[in-house]
Homo-oligomer: 135 residues x 2
DNA sequence: TCAATTCCCTACCAACCTGATAGACTTAAA
DNA sequence: TTTAAGTCTATCAGGTTGGTAGGGAATTGA
């Protein structure tokens, strides 16, 4: 399941997508409109900024805004960033791969199945963007 | 990601599938062969028993065994039982559904996408059984 | 009937994660 | 130089995860 943090992140990104190229948006505005605890949202937005998804401006008239075209930001990227691995096992994860300790990947039945599940999910998440989310 | 508990559960079930209809298998044997902490495994097997997946016999010559044909036990069932929801959001879960607090399911972009992801995953997990896992 | 064997049950624990808050600091505009 | 913002560090309660301890209950067989 996506963490609450991830759900908040998506809500905030949806809001910012709707306001793409309309100047900085206040954290407090997003917080109110999307009903996300202010200080928690701060952390999330900051993380998204550090990852290059968002950019910000300080001081009066400041706020957050998308740093690139929402049609170019994949949902899969956000999930990985905020929520972690998409795969159900470390040994089938593309971005968070870890070798199985006590099981040979070549003859592990779970392994192959979970690769299928991963690819099925990625087939969707890699082909949807923030723009799809907001429309 | 599947919890370690879930991974242990699948390993144990794989072992029991290989020994289907060959009499009870000791917890300690599964523990050794599959390298699963004994007491932790006890809990897991007990839970699987209570859910009707396994059955057991006490005393000498006792142990655990599958209570039905491994070809009839879906992987999806085990995942839900031991790991929880398969869907990425409560509001798109079939077995663990919860209404979204601050978002209208009808116009929530995430919602529709996550239904697709869920169905893609279920397309696999609902159509594989313990038997597929072991072979 | 008694002892050995095996699962069953309750309780507990440390470590970590999650969701959230507090407060001070920095930058920039007016 | 005041005010409006984002930035940073720290902290916290509560829950989950992975795992352990120890005795109880049922079954077998001698």
């Amino acid at each position: 399941m996506l963490s609450k943090k991830s759900q908040y992140a998506f809500k905030a990104l949806e809001y910012l997508t709707e306001r793409y190229k309309q100047g900085p948006v206040l954290i407090s505005e997003i917080s109110k409109k999307k009903k996300i605890p202010l200080k928690f949202l701060e952390n999330i937005l900051l993380e998204l900024k550090k990852a290059g998804i968002l950019d910000s401006k300080k001081g009066k008239g400041g706020g957050y805004f998308l740093s690139k075209d929402p049609a170019k930001v994949k949902v899969a990227t956000i999930v990985r960033l905020v929520n972690g691995p998409i795969a159900m096992l470390p040994c089938v994860s593309l971005y968070f791969y870890e070798r199985c300790k006590h099981c040979d990947e070549k003859k592990c039945g779970l392994h192959d199945m979970m690769i299928e599940v991963r690819d099925a999910s990625l087939g969707i998440l890699e082909n949807r963007t923030l723009k799809d989310l907001a429309s």
